[in-house]
Assembly symmetry: C2
């Protein structure tokens, strides 16, 4: 076991931060890590929008459903799939500027943006910062495009709040590693396997509390009936689809 | 500068590997890192297909366009966006099994899969292994679904070859960090900025060789006319779209 593994294993999302600002020097170390990852054909198809201004945080907050960390975090990094820069390069070099206006190319840029985002997160933790991903970034993607003034061929795909931790939560309860691993081909899950994999989670005190609060029988119903319902998901899927088209993908 | 930053900054893709196999214990350390990252609502929406069998590597190789590393690497990890496991959980707990059959939910699972993949890569490097991402995984996604026997709601999004390095390439030439960073809002690229950001890359010996081999004027044309043409991209975008629909997203 080395320090890097230890750091990865001990990751826990931090949602409350101290007042200590993130120094520019620290930010630069994080951004350099974001830019050091693997990238499709070395095209580096992402951008990072750095949010530090309080007025801008308040402007973005409603689209993050006013989660407290969206205004309380000293630093917010929004990672975008970005073919704009590369297309501008093509434009100024007499090359096809519409070769990447499609969903295959979008997928490459999403991949580059998420590798960059996760690298930034690992770097931030190594510098004593905590972070939390905001899933809301892909929900209200049309609004983020507008407020962040993203041009055609740029779409936000991940958003991370960062700051120095004002809380020290325990590790999140996860499924056992074997739940995710398939050897050579996919092996489907039967009821017995699902029961076994979810047993620890279902029997925890945390789950008991959630079920009591929600007055529901199990976690699956909490997800499908409260947290992420079909109706909401289908609505936000349409927003994402419309925004992808409008942004040229 | 700490060890973790140093490791992230020194990343370089490794395409040639020694014969040394990856021990099961090492694989488990890597897989644990993959499972330790952030995840949407703690739903953990990914799976990893572990390929170590030579016959399976040969079966998959044509869809990776027979890149040598697709058969020569001792280990291949294919990370999939996976709502199957969660939907099976819903099915066995009398909850809605179609709440996540949409592109918003797909985007969450893609995010989880890529966080897991990048964590696995960082872990692997810390253990002395090298790796390289295979972009081909999203090109021939229909074939990978078939050969890896992926059920509905499972789609491969990233594929990484891993092994002990038999080469030690220099760091890849990247754009300067400032190329990716936007403060508060997006600042579009004018010709002067593009010229400046790409100058070092365009003036390198590596670029001179590429242009000579391709008999083209600049790198933008190498990308749009040779490596990733509009025609190919649009074809593979259609394959991806068809496969996403067929897999229930």
């Amino acid at each position: 076991m080395n320090d890097i593994l230890q750091a990865l294993y001990n990751h826990v999302s931090i949602r409350r931060y101290t007042d200590k600002p993130v120094a520019e020097e620290t930010l630069q170390l994080i951004l350099k890590a974001a830019c050091s990852g693997s990238t499709m054909g070395n095209m580096q198809l992402f951008s990072v929008i750095v949010t530090q201004d309080d007025a801008m945080k308040r402007k973005l907050a409603p689209f993050h459903f006013n989660q407290p960390m969206a205004t309380e975090a000293p630093l917010i990094l929004t990672f975008c799939a970005d073919f704009r820069r590369f297309n501008r390069y093509c434009e100024f070099r007499q090359a096809d500027t519409e070769a990447y206006s499609n969903r295959q190319s979008y997928q490459w840029a999403v991949t580059d943006a998420l590798i960059a985002a996760q690298n930034a997160c690992v770097a931030a933790e190594s510098l004593g910062l905590g972070f939390c991903w905001l899933g809301t970034i892909t929900y209200n993607v049309d609004k983020f495009v507008e407020v962040l003034e993203l041009p055609r061929h740029v779409i936000p795909v991940s958003c991370v709040t960062m700051g120095y931790p004002a809380e020290h939560p325990a590790l999140t309860q996860k499924l056992p590693v074997e739940a995710f691993v398939h050897r050579e081909t996919y092996h489907d899950y039967d009821k017995e396997t699902i029961d076994r994999l979810y047993a620890e989670k279902e029997n925890s005190e945390e789950t008991r509390q959630i079920l009591e609060e929600n007055q529901l029988d199990n976690l699956a119903q909490v997800f499908t009936q409260r947290r992420y319902t079909r109706q909401d998901n289908e609505h936000f899927a349409q927003v994402l689809e419309d925004t992808l088209r409008r942004q040229g993908f």
